[in-house]
Symmetry: C3
């Protein structure tokens, strides 16, 4: 598959006189594809059952004439006013939120019968109408799905059915949710409902199940759109654009019926975010690739400072737009579609800037986009069908993430923030890393990190232990193995079902939160730690680091256990990033995974390959000039010529290097 | 008109035995006028249609006997319980607020039919009853009008009518509001309504129009009271007391049918506010004078520490009460009525202190009031019919202020705060300044500052450009010319319709928010700037200051353009106050406007004149002794005798100087 | 009465197989008593009128067999779902909160007819069923009563009745509440209601009365339970567990029909709280003892880190659990029941840790509990029937506390925080102190502190003045004598009715809030003060300290007045703690109350006595070793042997010393 470059474009928002001049400029700048129509329901179906696709036909035809392909969005994120007014069940019933806010967006309940019906009708209408259109290459379902904690009667009813399928009787519900506590036993299904209140005193078993149900509601709702499209367009691709991976949603299930994942990528342009932002961006991209374990698209790539319902961001530094677009490709994007062609002059999103300003005079941002598009076009053939192949992985778990949001343990602790620290440590060492959710193929990896797997079901624990047994290298962290699948506490010493594999038992824990503690390793080097200290009894493991303060001074802070053919590390605390660097570098070297120990701050390296062809991306995501040492000479595909012992990168400079197969930067 | 000194007094709150002793003490202290009855509806009409004015007759007669005049308030800010209980449409429907809170205040919808009916009845009753009373000199409508974001059916219905008058068809509404965005097209008038939610995702065109409508609702509601009073009392004055000018309300329209404006003035008594508070107070007074471009009253002047529903303020420093009362006069007040005679012993306002404490023992604050009243009495004849005549003006714009509140652009930016910086710079240079809203007479001024005129309609832009064309000096700042009147973005380079006059085009902008940047002027002097940096292309202007950092280092930060007979400055950023001082002093000198460059911090100077007679007020609004240099000898009207080369002022000291006509302090 | 050691245990939450092994371990560890059933309504009455007590019979019998006594809770804090579903009037109508949240707790209106009916039924059922059970020794009403600002129709109706009893007519209500302000006059009882809004603009007289009514509603509601139990079990004790004394509730009235008070004690385990926490804990225990002026129980003593709906606390330092349990005994506890035997594995309270963790492996915390239980068992006979006898008291006032919460005066001021400073000063000087609420026996004390008695009714003022008259020593602080009982301001100079006794009049006040001021005493020593400065006119008092800044420099800051046989101090400001130490030490010495001026930080001393036997508790509530000087040799009851001139205490070390009668530590 070639690498696509595109823009998001809203013909319905602009005077028709602008369409053609926009298309001309797009063509000239190298645009391959335009996404459109994902918010246009009120224009496509101005009144119930009266469709007006003529304007869209005209727009698609026009772009088609300029050889620009079209991805069509199903416009269900913005139900029109006639729909919400005549079928108010469309509107979700969200605690602390209005029952209706037409003209806004996202105001639709996934379990609403009317919403499901009219979704099917508009999706089928569009799918059928455009099934033979040569310019239409694919579809996007809805827009940026997220979980709704809706408590309308249709959601409640759906939840009862979901519970009946899962638990059959109320007796089982009462047992699995532990309702004996605080006289919470249900004696009738109708008592299972939601309340307009803070959830902090609620039963965590109930709350986790409700989120599971709502996550599945999204998936079931999307299927209506998928069915409608597939029926008429078996050849065209279907994707969905996720707005941010930290959002707890079972993305794996959401993307299961789709062809590939898409992501809306807005790296922060503020200078005070440059230290962390390139890394959290890398995680989001790796996570998106993990949704289906394959390449993906970016459906909204940063094209100008966001704003509107938040303060307007800083103007991107010269090179920022291009460099971050290359970052998307470097981590697996096969399509990069910029949001948006031109800033809106009307509506709530006026200050979410596009590539071109309200003035319609193309400026610096547009020129950078044009440069990027040209570069991609030049390398498209070389990069086509290349993929990332990594030997280390981080295991992400939806239930643990959700359960820890419901019961956050201590101030400062956040499951996703922990993931960021670990992932960043890999990236700073130049180690390619996957973020996976499925434990059925752990053997693909030499090293797997399992952070805070709070909810740990027996099958998962077995798979992890089995991975170690057969030679894998595991790292686990505190708050692992605390809960059963039903979100009740496991009645055995922590880390619960992984206690044997890890060779330790937690005898007590000290939730230190934002208090800073220290521990030292075998060399006596001191590291900070925070949030949580487990106190360990080593059963079969041996200690490799020890607490250096408080009443448990000298007791183990990190342990390693030989288990079968493999080894299992337990971090009893949350160490500062420097310890992760030290530990991961050591382990990677022992596994012969290439490590680049002196990669400059802000520089990222990753590799896409196709058979013997290997392309290495070197990105300087900082405002300073950076120099990278090379292990051997490479061919420079963007800068032209050869790079021998070092490569100097301008601020936000990018290079793509081509090397002989099996040669990586940093490999001795 | 003489200068009136008065107090706010609530006979209904006190045992009748106190009335006469209060009147005796007032008389003795020099009180000319008492405001009363503005909260007394439940005493004036204890039940529907049953009026009891006997107690008020008695009170007015009593004060009349002591030659104390009365201003009567129409008590509609506090609808009584019988009214809200039997006619609940009186109560506004405010998002996030209760539908009813009797015993509180402000609980009335301006569009409620019942409220309008019973307002007319009580206003007519009072107007007719007191039409011939010799003690009653004037009237106050309601109390401290403010905008209500009410969404009751009467407001919504009124809004539909307002829209139909303005736009005629839904088609035009959809076009003017740009509802194509996010499928927000209205297909029926009934769909135009308000929602119980944050407005941040709403259409800004809709939101601005709703505020315009509500602002006009206040004006229409007030007219009921004005009509009732005028019908019976064509000779008595009518005013209204505004509580705070930053409040976005179209004050010009509100005061149009009234005789003069009034203001409720509570300068902050905390020592940590002394650096800014005297200046924000000066702006409020100048703004009040600008409502009708004429002298005004202060209807509630600080008489003791406010408190009650906020922490009680610091006790005023000795001299504070007198000095701030003189500040009111110095900037155009012809009446100063203190809030309040004595602190309430009951109700929610117990700790909003009056001149006399709960103990009813007059203390230090009361003595200061007595001194002030004596001084005013002594100068009353000299000051009568004097006015302020200024050569510089700041243009305030309701639509821009409101639109910027709806879309605040960046953290730290606030339209009114910008006004404060600019106005303060004038005051610190001793330059008299008007705050105007009307562009039809700009030629009256030598220098006009137009801060962030975000919403800029063609007629206004033409008037401003025409002013420059004919020789005026203009200063404009960022975020000018961004929006059409309908709050859609203007599709041309910023500063939009003033781009030609200012000789610049904004090619890009960097919303730097609270990050600090610097720029330097022609001398190389460095200044801080913040919030927003426009990047300029100079078309016909020349640069006079340049950015000294970031990727646009060396590009223009301030420009000046010769346009017709005049000159137009564009500040591409928000500079620190020191730059304003430098620029305004330079420009004022070039215009031969007197500048006092070494006025001590906290000292303010202003001038009232009547023909040849000029009175200069010198106020030390600080806790330290301050010395002011004089350009020539003056007669001291408060201190007695002559002030020759310098004038020394005690902490919170005040002097009124009389000089020969056309001689001003600071004039060389 | 012996000293009881116990645990809170919830048989309904655990598999029946665990009961007996739990009982065995309890027995072994020295548990005397178990509290149970206070949340078990849904298990005791699974459906309306169908009771299931068999499981509880079995549990009680089992514990009885192990000679473990049982305290039974009436489970009314957690109404079951069948009750709230079928009789929704049970649910309170709380502003800003959901009308129903079953499965949570505290969701019951005290004035609900259904709640009152079903409370009577379940209480009678339990009382009758267990009246002859030898293991059952006492009862707990409900759980942790608190005030509900419920505005359901039953509460409103009850309030009307309460008002009619108190005021008879609406005319009197209007007068007492001062409704003339802001047209708030009531013309019909139905207008007296509550509103869904912030209370900040409400009438403070109304608000105080509503809190009085709701406080009495709790008392009346509890009486249903008391009557049911007494009828069948005249021999068993009844108590109630208060969760935190700062809560404004008329505890004296609540405990009046009960045998003794109980308290739920959770000292903060975080190291950064060690400076203040041992002292605020001491205040809570002294306050609990003051509820009935007699010994009490702790019904929930800290057994592990709380958490769940807040961040999990730090693990307790070694010795912490034992030391704080001894603190409870040292200040009057005759029973110490730990919360809870084992952490819950289900429900919202999973992370409110018990003595034993989820793993069910007893650890360090459990061992500490076992040590404590053994120590108590050894000293039980010696300590039985001992009481505290103190010569100084602080007067707490519900109405003042409540009224100051309604009108907080200045930022930073909090009535209860003021109490903490004063109480801590006594504790740091080793002076035993009572916290009393009743002024009818002030003559029992040599020294009485009356902090900020904002609401001061004539009878109370007379009692306080009479106490001084007859030789007492009084210390009063600012904001005393401000309000009548109806929460209107008193129309006479402050401190109102105590002005004569204190020999001062407040001529003015300066609410300095968080600004720091200073004053100096007769030696010239400078002290900080904050929040509030009264400016005094001394009528008969003499000054002993003076302000050293601002415009009132040199005027009195502290005064003393000879009044009859006694002396009355007035602190015109809120001084730093050092001044309290100085003043209290001086006054205590003058009264021959023993003072220990060099007690190390964190060490607390108190004394229980029975006739001639005196037991002195010395507690080191810190993480450092501390040494205490002794005035003469003592017998060590925990450490064994003699302590002669000094006593060294380990971190969280505890000692009980026995001395000859009338000999106290610190007495010269």
């Amino acid at each position: 598959m070639m690498i696509w470059v595109g823009v998001d474009y809203y013909p319905e928002q602009w005077d028709r006189s602008l369409w053609e001049q926009d298309a001309v400029l797009m063509k000239e700048a190298g645009v391959h594809v335009v996404r459109m129509a994902e918010f246009a329901w009120s224009r496509l179906e101005p009144q119930e059952g009266r469709y007006d696709l003529a304007w869209l036909d005209e727009a698609i035809d026009l772009f088609g004439r300029y050889e620009i392909a079209v991805v069509l969005g199903i416009p269900t994120m913005t139900p029109p006013l006639w729909l919400t007014q005549h079928y108010p069940d469309v509107l979700p019933d969200l605690p602390g939120q209005p029952s209706s806010h037409p003209g806004v967006r996202g105001h639709r309940c996934y379990n609403s019968p009317s919403m499901r019906k009219y979704t099917r009708l508009i999706a089928e209408k569009l799918a059928e109408h455009y099934k033979d259109h040569p310019a239409v290459i694919g579809w996007q379902t809805d827009n940026e799905f997220s979980l709704h904690m809706c408590r309308c009667k249709h959601c409640i009813h759906g939840f009862h059915q979901w519970l009946q399928e899962r638990y059959e009787t109320l007796e089982v519900v009462n047992r699995e949710w532990g309702t004996a506590v605080w006289s919470g036993a249900y004696t009738d299904w109708s008592q299972i409902t939601l309340y307009e209140t803070s959830e902090q005193h609620f039963n965590p078993s109930f709350l986790l199940d409700y989120r599971r149900f709502q996550s599945e509601s999204v998936v079931r709702y999307q299927q209506i759109q998928v069915d409608a499209i597939r029926q008429h367009n078996p050849e065209q691709f279907i994707t969905h654009n996720t707005w941010s991976a930290p959002l707890p949603l079972e993305h794996e299930k959401l993307y299961e019926p789709l062809d590939f994942a898409s992501f809306d990528y807005y790296p922060a342009s503020s200078p005070d975010k440059t230290a962390t932002n390139p890394y959290s961006g890398a995680l989001l991209l790796d996570r998106t690739r993990g949704f289906k374990n394959r390449n993906f698209w970016v459906m909204e790539q940063f094209g100008g400072p966001p704003g509107s319902w938040m303060p307007i961001w800083r103007s991107p530094y010269p090179g920022f737009i291009r460099a971050y677009a290359w970052q998307s490709i470097s981590r697996g994007a096969d399509g990069v579609v910029f949001f948006r062609w031109r800033s809106a002059i009307a509506g709530a999103e006026q200050f979410w800037h596009g590539l071109i300003d309200h003035s319609n005079v193309p400026g610096r941002r547009f020129e950078e986009f044009r440069t990027f598009a040209g570069e991609v076009r030049a390398l498209s053939e070389q990069l086509s069908d290349t993929v990332l192949v990594n030997r280390a992985a981080i295991l992400y778990d939806f239930a643990s993430h959700t359960a820890l949001q419901l019961q956050p343990q201590v101030e400062g602790f956040d499951y996703y923030e922990e993931l960021k620290v670990i992932h960043r440590s890999f990236v700073k060492l130049g180690i390619g890393i996957d973020v996976i959710t499925d434990v059925s193929h752990l053997e693909r990896y030499d090293l797997v990190v399992v952070p805070s797997m709070f909810v740990l079901e027996p099958g998962t624990a077995d798979a992890i232990a089995g991975y170690v047994q057969q030679g894998g290298l595991l790292i686990a962290t505190p708050r692992t193995g605390v809960k059963e699948g039903n979100n009740q506490c496991i009645m055995r010493p922590l880390p619960g079902p992984l206690s044997e594999c890890l060779g330790v038992q937690v005898t007590e824990y000290d939730p230190i939160a934002l208090d800073r503690h220290t521990f030292h390793d075998e060399d006596g080097t001191l590291y900070h730690c925070s949030l949580w200290n487990d106190l360990l009894k080593l059963t079969t493991a041996r200690a490799v680091a020890w607490y250096s303060g408080d009443f448990y001074e000298g007791t183990p802070a990190v342990s390693v256990n030989a288990w079968g053919e493999g080894q299992a590390y337990y971090l009893a605390t949350f160490p500062e990033e420097a310890y992760w660097h030290r530990l991961l570098a050591e382990l990677a070297r022992s596994l012969h995974i290439p490590v680049i120990s002196q990669l400059p701050e802000g520089v990222q390296i990753s590799t896409r390959q196709r058979g013997e062809a290997v392309y290495t991306f070197v990105l300087n995501l900082s405002r300073e000039v950076k120099t990278v040492k090379l292990d051997h000479p490479y061919e420079r595909l963007l800068g032209r010529g050869q790079a021998s012992s070092t490569l100097e990168l301008e601020p936000y400079g990018v290079e793509v290097l081509q090397s002989a197969p099996q040669k990586h930067i940093g490999q001795a």
